[in-house]
């Protein structure tokens, strides 16, 4: 591995133990990836374990063990940085069935961690959608620890980042470097397979849940291979893109993909494939879409206990759809609806009257927290519009105490009013 003078100095300990540990981690990772050098980054998105990853009990202690050596003598970062959501809004933790002891510990660990990151200059966006605050630029190298954001910066902006985790992105933000490997290199970016919609379906008729299901069906076909989507409407908006990106980022573990006519490295199918022939050409038809809905619905129970929305954070369109369904009505007694967005979007939703409509109906509107993780404590049947959250709700239910219903934002809102699931399947 080649290191420059600044990197050698960091490694020698001249810039303190935190910086030394950070560059040790990056050099180890670079060697594991087969990288020959580190590359300068211009931005980082952080996922500190003590902010987001169940900040109580054993995990709370382990979070500290993973990062304390990195952060103990750090008072600034070398690049602009944003940060993942906090684990839980303490004001609603009881509704999400956390015990008083857990909440007290959460308050301490998550509170101290977020204070620390704000003190060293991290932008307190607390969201998996940092592009609202700090958009990417074509060809710039960045380090991001959040699966949808990694896929978004690479694909939508043509920025370059690998699937960095919380320890790696923190190390990158401390040193200003990350390994020059994987998706940072042009050779690892072109699409490998194509995905089209079957003739029996029409993107123009898709609601938000259909995009999630399409994304799950796509990932079951392309698996770890980088797909190029063909035929996606050029005017696709941020809400539908969010649903398309969130699921496949987790289910396929992709860093980069392409959408012909929409994303910067895909002006044409040929360009998106880097001039090569696709290794496979897949079609997602009605059968595959319905299968995805069946996989995402882990129960046939109709009685709903919780409606948990906001993984990743709800967009204004989703908040508006919720408000339209709930306005002037009442959520059924015993049913809890929690809608989570970013602080910035909540401000706008207030101005537009959306949060009033939701709250007056008896719903909870919150911001800056992770409803996917914080929702894994509840007992009963959860309705959600997110297959990404579904993955975690179902995954952390080994004892079978939690089941999931999946459907559109509007179907989730209607279930809140009646307590009954009547979600539409295409």
């Amino acid at each position: 591995m080649r290191l420059n003078k600044e990197q050698e100095e960091m490694l020698s300990g001249k810039h303190g133990r935190g910086t030394q540990k950070a560059i040790e981690i990056l050099v180890g990772l670079a060697e594991a990836q087969g990288a020959e050098e580190l590359v300068k980054i211009s931005y980082a998105h952080l996922m500190p374990p003590d902010v987001m990853f169940f900040p109580y009990g054993r995990q709370g202690r382990w979070a500290h063990e993973m990062t304390h050596e990195l952060t103990m003598d750090i008072d600034r970062l070398r690049v602009t940085a944003t940060i993942e959501p906090l684990f839980c809004d303490l004001a609603i933790a009881k509704t999400l069935q956390f015990s008083d002891d857990m909440i007290a510990e959460m308050h301490k660990i998550q509170g101290a961690a977020s204070d620390f990151y704000e003190r060293i200059g991290v932008i307190p966006n607390y969201s998996a959608l940092p592009f609202y605050v700090r958009p990417g630029k074509l060809g710039e190298h960045v380090s991001i620890a959040e699966s949808i954001a990694i896929l978004w910066y690479n694909t939508m902006f043509g920025s370059r980042c690998e699937r960095d985790d919380g320890v790696t992105s923190l190390s990158a933000a401390i040193t200003g470097y990350c390994p020059l490997a994987g998706s940072h290199l042009s050779e690892n970016r072109p699409g490998e397979v194509t995905i089209r919609l079957g003739d029996d379906l029409d993107f123009e008729q898709f609601n938000d849940a259909d995009w999630d299901a399409f994304s799950l069906a796509s990932s079951r076909l392309c698996r770890e291979k980088r797909p190029v989507f063909v035929g996606v409407p050029r005017d696709i908006g941020i809400t539908d893109l969010k649903h398309l990106f969130a699921v496949i980022a987790v289910e396929s573990g992709l860093a980069v993909m392409h959408i012909v006519g929409v994303t910067p490295e895909a002006p044409s199918l040929e360009k998106a494939l880097g001039g090569r022939k696709p290794q496979a050409e897949y079609v997602v038809g009605k059968k595959e879409l319905v299968e995805a809905y069946q996989l995402a619905n882990t129960t046939t129970d109709k009685d709903i206990d919780f409606i948990l929305l906001g993984c990743p954070h709800l967009t204004l369109r989703e908040l508006r759809e919720l408000a339209e369904e709930l306005d002037g009505k009442k959520i059924k007694d015993g049913v809890n609806l929690v809608a989570v967005t970013t602080r910035m979007l909540l401000e706008q939703a207030r101005d537009m009257g959306y949060s009033d409509s939701i709250q007056n109906a008896g719903g909870i509107v919150s911001c800056d927290m992770c409803i996917a993780f914080a929702g894994t404590q509840v007992t009963g049947v959860i309705a959600t519009n997110s297959i990404k959250a579904d993955f975690f709700y179902a995954g952390f239910a080994a004892e079978g105490k939690r089941k999931v219903r999946f459907g559109s934002t509007r179907d989730c809102a209607r279930a809140a009013l009646t307590g009954k699931w009547e979600g539409r399947v295409p």
Binding site: I25, G28, L29, E31, A32, Q33, G34, M47, P49, M52, F53, R58, Q59, W62, A63, M66, I144, A145, E146, S147, I150, E162, R163, D164, D165, G166, V167, T168, S169, G182, R223, E224, A249, V250, E251, S252, G253, A255, L295, T298, K388, F391, F392, A394, G395, F396, A398
Partner: protein, 137 residues
């Protein structure tokens, strides 16, 4: 019968030997695997119900969120980690998790390891030379 395959090792951590658990599906350690038991719990997963503890885990590639690395760390801290990781394509989040707790990991073989190795095979993993040996009696 012995068969030796050559790949890229993430770190020199000596040689380990164990029983292979092979899955044809991508593996997530956070949400897809229960870090307290080592069971693969993902709905619809080909290896759902199998346990990864102490196994030579053979899989096409990792998946999951960026938090998958922490998931692997928690799995290891609760004593339920595999003995070694063998995969075709190495996800950065998988490498980072293995590095945090020093699990030997080899990837990028010429051959498709998921097709070549069968669950139950004895596999010797030499992380110093980036070689794995499939031992069948």
């Amino acid at each position: 019968m012995k068969q030796v395959l050559k790949g890229k090792s993430i770190k020199k951590l000596g040689t380990v030997e164990g029983e292979a658990l092979v899955t044809t599906d991508l593996v997530a350690f956070w949400g897809g695997t229960d870090w307290e038991t080592g069971d693969i719990v993902e709905v619809g997963h080909e290896a759902k119900g199998k346990n990864v503890k102490g196994k030579i885990l053979v899989f096409p590639a990792g998946k999951g969120g960026a938090g998958d690395t922490f998931g692997y760390y928690y799995l290891a801290r609760s004593g339920k980690a595999p003995k070694a990781l063998i995969c075709n394509r190495a996800q950065n989040t998988t490498i980072a998790g293995a590095l945090l707790v020093d699990t030997p990991m080899i990837y990028g073989f010429k051959e498709d390891v998921v097709k070549l190795i069968k669950s139950g095979d004895r596999v010797k993993v030499n992380s110093d030379d980036g070689e794995i040996e499939i031992i069948r009696s």
